[in-house]
C-alpha cells in the first residue's frame, strides 16, 4: 500500500486522553476501502470523534450494520468494539437481540438508505416502535452504492442514473418523518459535509435513552454526486438550512456554556447532559413539539428545503429494556443459579401433571 500522507508529529507531545483515559487513536478502525471522498468515511470520522469526546469505552459499545457501502463503515471505526455486519436490511433485529442480551451496552447501528428504506423498512419501523436503545445512523446517499448505482427509496424524483432506463418516478421517503410517526424520541437530520453538527448530534444521541435516528446525507461520489442531486456535496453545501445547531454539553462539564436565554434553548437529557440548541435565523423550531416537527418536515418536503439539526426529541417513552423490566445484570451474564430453576420446582410441576 502506498504510505498515507500524514502531518508531521509534534515533538514528543503526549497524546491527549479523554474521560476514560483513551487517546483518539484508540477509537480508530481499519483503513477504509470505500471510494475516495465517500461521505460515509466522513461520518465514520465523526463517529470516532464523537465517541472519543463523549468518553465511551469502546469495549462497552457494539457496532452493527446491514449490507452496503454504508454498512461497511463499522469496520472503519472503533476496532476495539465488537462489530456485526449482518444481513441486508436486518440489522435492527440483530441489534435488538444483542441489546436484550446485554442492555448495559451502548450501540451504534449504521445503515444505508436502501438497507433501511427498502429491504429493511419494516425492521427499521418496528425497532423504533420498540424504542431499542441505540444510535441508528442512516448514511443516506439516495442510491444503492455497493450494487453500483440503482435508485434507492430516497432517490429524488426525476433523478437519473446509469443503467436505469428512465428517471426515478417515485417520491423519496422521508426517514425522519417515518421515524417520528413510529414514535421515535430522537430524530435528527444532518450532512456528512458538516462534521461538527454530525459529531454534536451523535453525542446528543448517546445521551438519549431509546432509539435515536440520525438521517445523515452522505454523498456517493461515484454514483450520485451530480450537483443537482439533493444528496450531492454541492447541493448540501448550497442548501443546508440549519434549523438548529445543537451543542452537546455533557453533564460532567461544569463550564457554563455561553448562550443567551431566549436565543437558544436547552433540552436536558436523562443523564443530566444538555443539548443546547442555538436558534438560528432560519427557524424557531421547537424540537420537543411533535406536531411542529411534523409540520417542519412536511413543509421541507413540500418546498424542497434541506433542513438539518435536531428535529424532534421526546424522552418520555421507556426503552425496550425498561419495558422488559430488565434488572442490573445483563441476561447474557445471568448465572446458572438464576436461570435454571431448582429441582424441587420441577418435581412439584410433575406432580401436578399426574
Amino acid at each position: 500500500m502506498p504510505p498515507l500522507p500524514s502531518a508531521p508529529a509534534p515533538a514528543a507531545a503526549k497524546p491527549a486522553t479523554n474521560l476514560v483515559g483513551l487517546t483518539k487513536a484508540d477509537y480508530k478502525g481499519l483503513e477504509s476501502t470505500l471510494c475516495n471522498g465517500c461521505g460515509h468515511d466522513a461520518i465514520a470520522a465523526s463517529i470516532i470523534d464523537a465517541c472519543y469526546e463523549y468518553g465511551i469505552a469502546p469495549e462497552r459499545l457494539i457496532k452493527l450494520s446491514g449490507i452496503g457501502c454504508s454498512s461497511k463503515s463499522p469496520a472503519y471505526f472503533l476496532s476495539r468494539s465488537h462489530g456485526f455486519n449482518s444481513l441486508h436490511g436486518r440489522m435492527p433485529s440483530v441489534a435488538t437481540g444483542a441489546l436484550m442480551a446485554n442492555h448495559t451496552l451502548s450501540a451504534i447501528g449504521v445503515s444505508g438508505d436502501g438497507d433501511t428504506g427498502s429491504i429493511g423498512f419494516s425492521q427499521f419501523k418496528h425497532m423504533i416502535r420498540r424504542n431499542v436503545n441505540m444510535v441508528y445512523i442512516v448514511e443516506n446517499n439516495g442510491v444503492y452504492g455497493l450494487t453500483k448505482g440503482q435508485f434507492s427509496p430516497t432517490s429524488d424524483r426525476g433523478q437519473e442514473l446509469r443503467h436505469q432506463p428512465r428517471p426515478n418516478e417515485f417520491m423519496p421517503i422521508d426517514l425522519c418523518m417515518e421515524a417520528i410517526i413510529s414514535d421515535c424520541g430522537f430524530v435528527a437530520r444532518s450532512f456528512a459535509g458538516d462534521p461538527k453538527q454530525v459529531r454534536m448530534l451523535i453525542k446528543a444521541a448517546f445521551a438519549h435513552r431509546g432509539t435515536a435516528v440520525l438521517d445523515i446525507i452522505s454523498p456517493c461520489v461515484t454514483f450520485n454526486n451530480k450537483d443537482d442531486s439533493t444528496k450531492s456535496y454541492a447541493w448540501g453545501r448550497g442548501h443546508d438550512e440549519v434549523v438548529n445547531d445543537p451543542l452537546f454539553v455533557a453533564s460532567r462539564d461544569q463550564i457554563t456554556v455561553d448562550y443567551a436565554e431566549g436565543e437558544s434553548r436547552a433540552v436536558t437529557m436523562h443523564d443530566g447532559s444538555r443539548i443546547v440548541l442555538q436558534k438560528l435565523d432560519s427557524g424557531k423550531h421547537d424540537p420537543t413539539d411533535r406536531a411542529a416537527a411534523m409540520r417542519l418536515l412536511e413543509d421541507a418536503r413540500a418546498n424542497q428545503r434541506f433542513i438539518t439539526g435536531l428535529i424532534y426529541v421526546d424522552q418520555s417513552r421507556p426503552n425496550l429494556a425498561e419495558v422488559e423490566n430488565l434488572g442490573y445484570t445483563p441476561l447474557a451474564h445471568m448465572p446458572e443459579s438464576k436461570t435454571r430453576p431448582p429441582r424441587e420446582t420441577l418435581d412439584k410441576l410433575m406432580a401436578s401433571m399426574k
Binding site: 465488537h82 462489530g83 436484550m100 442480551a101
Partner: protein, 611 residues
C-alpha cells in the same frame, strides 16, 4: 326427537365385553368449548390407571367449522392414532351423518335428542342425550350454556362406560386449577347427565372401562409436546425469546409465557431473568435470536414451516458466523398457509440444509414429550458448545396433542456455556483468533461483546474471513474455514443425542422412525410380530446422523423409514449420507395430514414384505 327412528337400536345378541380397549371420537364445532369436556374424559381415564392418548383434529378456523377429538384407551399402552373409533359423540349438526357413517361396525353413537339425523345404520347402538334440557337446567351464566352443554356427554359417557365420577371430578379440578365454583358447576351437569342416563337409557353395547388391578398410569404425567418444550427451555436457562405467532407452534410460546413468570423471577431483585419479544415477523425473530446469541444470551424462537422458510437467510448467517441459537419447528402440512392444523414432517430436509450455499444445520428430533423437555434444555448446551443454530424438529401431533410420559428428569449436567474467553483469559493468552481450530473439534473460541479487554473485540460477518475474523476473499482462507465447519459438523454428530436402538435377535428388517410417528411404529412392531415378522427399531434423534445409524442399516437386509412426508425426507437424508447402503434403505411414507396409524404401518409393511 325429530326423527322417526327408534331411540335405541336392538341390542345385538351375545357380544363379549370390550374392556379398556377402544376409541372415542367427539365431533363438534370449532370454538364451541368442547376442549374442556374432552380433556376431562381423557384425564379421568388416565386417573383410573388406563393408558390413554388424546388428539384434536381441528380446522384452520376460530369458530364454527367441524372439529374432532379422539380419545384412545388401550390397556396395552398403545397411544398412536387409530383409524376408527367405536364410540362416536356427535355434537355437530354439520357432520352428524358423516360421523355416523364413520363409526366402527358394532360401535355406539351418542347424539343430542333434538338432532336431525337419520339413524340409518343397524349395526350401531344409539343413545340420544337431552343436551338442551340438561344444560338449560344448569345455573351457569346464559353466555356459557353452550359450553356447559358439553358436560352432558361427559356424564352420559361416564355412565355408559363406567368412568368413575370421582376421577371425573378430579380431572375437572385439574382442568380448572382447583377453582371450586367452576368444578362444581361443571360437575353438576355431569351428575345430572349421569343420573338421567341411569334412569332413561338401557346399556346395549359391550364397551366399558375397568380400573386395572395395577394402575398403568401411576406416576405418569400427561402433557403436550409444546408445553414440554417450553418447560425444557425454561430449565435450560433460556434468557431471550423472540417469536411470531403461528399454528401449531404458538402454544410453545404460550408455555413460555405461562411458566417463565412462575419459575424464573429473580428472587433477590424481583426482576425477570428473561425477556420475551413478540416480533413483527419470523425474519426479525431469528435476527433477534442471533443478535442475542452473539451477545451471550441463551436465545430461542419457535415457528412452523412458513416461518422456517422466512428464516432461511438468517439461518445461513448463523451457520457461517457461528452463533448459538435454538429454533423450534413444530411442523405442519404444506406450503405457505398450507393446512396449518394438519400434521407433517415435511420440513426435515429443509431444516438440515437451511440457508443457501452449502449449509448443514444441526437438527434434534424428539420422539416423545419427555424428549421435547430434554432437548428443550439440551439444545442450549449444544448451541453454545457448537456455536451454531440448533433446530428442534417437532410436529403438530407431538406438539399440540396430549401424551402420557414418565415425569421429566431434571437436567443431569450443569449448563455448558461453550468456549467463551473472559477478559482474564485474554490477558493470560495475549489475544485470540476467533475462527482458529485450537482444539481440533472445529470449534473456535469467542468473546462476548462488553468484555472489557482491548483485545476482546472481533468483527462478525457472514462473508469470508480468516482465522482472526479479518475480511478475506482468499481461496485458502475460505476453504480452510469450510473444512473446519465440516469438522465441527462431525463434532456435532458425536455430541448430539445418539439414536435409540431396539435390536431384535434375528430380525431381517429394520424400522426407522422419528417424532410422533414413533408411537405408531412401536405398535406396528407388535402387530407385525403377531404376523411372524421381526423388526428392529432405530430412532435417530439428531442430524447429522450418528454412526449408529450406519451400523443399524448394515445389520439389516432392508430398513424401512417410516415418516410423514411426501418425499420421504429422512429416508433421503440417510441415503445421502450413506450412499454405499442407499439401496437397503426404503421409504414408507404417508402425507395425508393425519397422524400415521399402526394399522397403516403394519399393513403397508406386510404388503411390501410379502410381495
Amino acid at each position: 326427537m325429530s326423527t322417526a327412528e327408534p331411540l335405541v337400536a336392538p341390542a345385538p345378541a351375545e357380544r363379549p365385553p370390550v374392556v379398556n380397549d377402544f376409541s372415542i371420537i367427539v365431533g363438534t364445532k370449532n370454538g364451541s368449548g368442547s376442549q374442556t369436556a374432552n380433556a376431562t374424559i381423557l384425564r379421568a381415564l388416565f386417573k383410573m390407571g388406563l393408558p390413554v392418548s388424546g388428539k384434536n383434529l381441528f380446522p384452520s378456523n376460530i369458530q364454527g367449522l367441524p372439529t374432532w377429538y379422539t380419545v384412545r384407551v388401550s390397556a396395552d399402552g398403545w397411544i398412536a392414532r387409530r383409524e376408527t373409533a367405536e364410540i362416536t359423540v356427535a355434537m355437530n349438526p354439520a357432520t352428524m351423518a358423516d360421523d355416523l357413517a364413520r363409526t366402527a361396525a358394532g360401535g355406539i353413537y351418542l347424539y343430542p335428542d333434538d338432532a336431525k339425523v337419520q339413524l340409518s345404520r343397524t349395526d350401531i347402538t344409539y343413545y340420544p342425550m337431552p343436551v338442551k334440557k340438561l344444560s338449560a337446567a344448569s345455573d351457569v351464566d346464559a353466555k356459557l350454556k353452550g359450553y356447559i352443554a358439553n358436560m352432558v356427554y361427559v356424564g352420559v359417557l361416564a355412565w355408559l362406560l363406567g368412568i368413575d365420577r370421582a376421577d371425573i371430578e378430579a380431572a375437572l379440578a385439574w382442568q380448572f386449577r382447583n377453582k371450586a365454583k367452576a368444578v362444581a358447576t361443571n360437575m353438576a351437569v355431569v351428575n345430572a347427565a349421569h343420573e338421567w342416563a341411569g334412569a332413561n337409557l338401557t346399556k346395549a353395547d359391550p364397551f366399558r372401562v375397568e380400573r386395572l388391578p395395577e394402575s398403568k398410569t401411576a406416576g405418569l404425567i400427561m402433557i403436550d409436546g409444546n408445553t414440554a418444550g417450553a418447560l425444557g427451555s425454561v430449565y435450560g436457562g433460556v434468557t431471550f425469546v423472540a417469536w411470531y405467532p403461528i399454528t401449531p407452534a404458538t402454544s410453545l410460546a404460550d408455555g413460555l409465557h405461562d411458566y417463565l413468570p412462575r419459575l424464573r423471577g429473580d428472587a433477590e431483585t424481583g426482576k425477570p431473568t428473561y425477556a420475551v419479544v413478540q416480533t413483527e415477523d419470523e425474519l426479525a425473530a431469528l435476527g433477534m435470536v442471533l443478535g442475542a446469541g452473539w451477545a451471550g444470551a441463551r436465545a430461542m424462537t419457535s415457528t412452523s414451516g412458513p416461518g422456517i422458510s422466512l428464516m432461511s437467510e438468517f439461518a445461513g448467517l448463523g451457520y457461517f458466523a457461528e452463533i448459538p441459537a435454538v429454533i423450534w419447528d413444530v411442523t405442519r402440512m404444506g406450503p405457505s398457509t398450507g393446512l396449518p392444523t394438519r400434521v407433517s414432517q415435511g420440513d426435515l430436509l429443509k431444516l438440515y440444509l437451511l440457508g443457501h450455499g452449502d449449509t448443514r444445520q444441526v437438527v434434534l428430533m424428539p420422539g416423545d414429550v419427555a424428549e421435547c423437555f430434554e432437548f428443550g434444555w439440551r439444545a442450549f448446551d449444544l448451541a453454545e458448545r457448537l456455536q451454531t443454530p440448533i433446530f428442534v424438529a417437532s410436529d403438530l401431533d407431538l406438539g399440540m396433542n396430549q401424551w402420557m410420559s414418565k415425569p421429566f428428569e431434571y437436567p443431569d449436567q450443569p449448563m455448558d456455556r461453550g468456549k467463551v474467553l473472559t477478559a482474564a483469559d485474554l490477558e493470560r493468552l495475549g489475544g485470540f483468533a476467533r475462527y482458529k481450530d485450537v482444539d481440533g473439534d472445529g470449534i473456535g473460541y469467542r468473546t462476548l461483546p462488553g468484555t472489557e479487554h482491548p483485545l476482546a473485540a472481533y468483527f462478525t460477518r457472514g462473508t469470508g474471513h480468516n482465522e482472526r475474523a479479518g475480511y478475506s476473499e482468499k481461496p485458502e482462507d475460505w476453504t480452510r474455514n469450510l473444512e473446519r465447519l465440516d469438522r465441527k459438523h462431525d463434532t456435532a454428530r458425536k455430541l448430539c443425542p445418539q439414536p435409540v436402538v431396539e435390536q431384535v435377535e434375528g430380525a431381517e428388517i429394520g424400522l426407522v422412525a422419528f417424532g410422533s410417528v414413533t408411537a405408531a411404529v412401536e405398535e406396528a412392531r407388535a402387530m407385525l410380530a403377531r404376523e411372524g415378522i421381526k423388526a428392529s427399531l432405530l430412532r435417530p434423534r439428531a442430524l447429522p446422523l450418528a454412526e449408529g445409524v450406519r451400523d443399524f442399516i448394515a445389520a439389516h437386509k432392508r430398513t424401512y423409514v417410516i415418516e410423514m412426508s411426501q418425499h420421504h425426507q429422512l429416508c433421503d437424508i440417510i441415503r445421502l449420507e450413506m450412499p454405499e447402503l442407499a439401496g437397503r434403505v426404503l421409504p414408507l411414507n404417508l402425507c395425508d395430514g393425519l397422524p400415521v396409524t399402526a394399522k397403516w404401518v403394519s399393513e403397508n409393511l406386510l404388503a411390501r414384505e410379502t410381495k
